[in-house]
Symmetry: C2
Subunit: 201 residues, 2 copies
């Protein structure tokens, strides 16, 4: 991506996050990026392009994080912990992208919205399959697997809303803690834990 295109993207992201997509005019984006409107139109065709790009980039980052964290995972517990770590890390690193993607799906045109929702559903389906797999393998004990998936995703997505790099918890610590919470939520008992440890809990 060229430096100018990147600057436009950052301006759009900041303004959409601060005031909402609908309320942000394309002129403001140009002004914030220090460009004339006609220069801006060399890079994009419409304001919606900017939102589409933000949402697509978020989704592909998420999928890449999932891919990477699943690559070396051998059990359902390792896979779930990996998904959680990847999701939390991405939502901490790309907070504004995640929040805008999350709240401004409503603002996409029908066709774009459908495509984005399909990608999101496919990603969430991955989480569901890993939960179901853990239940089938008797590694997880879950009363309502669909509700656990919804609870987990919201808990992890929520990191984008409160995390700050200036805060007192480093992102890797948050990712690890959330992975542990996820395993508690699915009733996973680490087989490496001795029986007396399990009883002492």
């Amino acid at each position: 991506m060229s430096a100018t295109a990147d600057r436009i993207r950052r301006s759009a992201l900041r303004l959409f996050a601060k005031r909402g997509y609908e309320a942000t005019g394309i002129r403001e984006v140009a002004r914030d990026a220090g460009l004339s409107l006609s220069t801006l139109y060399h890079y994009i065709e419409s304001k919606e392009d900017l939102l589409v790009d933000i949402i697509r980039t978020s989704m592909s980052e998420l999928r890449a994080a999932a891919q990477e964290s699943l690559a070396n995972a051998e059990t359902p517990a390792e896979r779930l912990a990996g998904l959680v770590r990847g999701h939390v890390t991405m939502h901490g690193r790309m907070r504004l992208d995640a929040v805008v993607s999350d709240t401004e799906l409503r603002s996409l045109s029908e066709a774009e919205r459908k495509g984005a929702v399909k990608l999101r559903d496919r990603y969430e389906q991955q989480w569901q399959e890993i939960i179901d797999e853990g239940v089938a393998a008797d590694d997880f004990y879950v009363a309502d697997p669909k509700l656990v998936r919804l609870a987990l995703l919201q808990m992890c997505t929520g990191v984008a809303y409160w995390y700050s790099p200036a805060g007192d918890r480093p992102l890797p610590h948050i990712a690890d803690t959330f992975a542990e919470l996820a395993l508690l939520m699915v009733g996973y008992v680490d087989p490496a834990m001795t029986e007396s440890e399990a009883r002492a809990r």
Copy 2:
């Protein structure tokens, strides 16, 4: 509240949720409510009044739900479960109010925002105190109480984003399931559970 005031409130809520607060004009609110602009101004002084009212109402509903659920709770586990049930139920019943309150704090004027954030912080502090109390009583086993509070609140608030009264899970079932998940997250072991049951888990 008069029927007209209520109609104005519903119109504002629907429009703010659909397009965002900044992007919604006061004329649109009047049109949606079937009123002239001058009639609308009999009821409110500014567009911000509408947002302030939505955010204040959400917060007082949440506090009332917390109050009610804590009234008969005797242990930290009962109190935490009660808070979760109250929060989830309010976020399912008043989805739009919750989403607008959650996303449009950014749009309040500085003074109003400060007041709202103070109320929210006080409410979240209640959650923290109950978690800390459970830890102090050795009822909860929590590695990082602050992160657990943040995880719990986002998980429960998230219900407003996915719940639908037309869906396949009734709200009381969701509230109960989330209360159980919360107790798993804080490492609570029900003392009524026999040792052999605990071991079989």
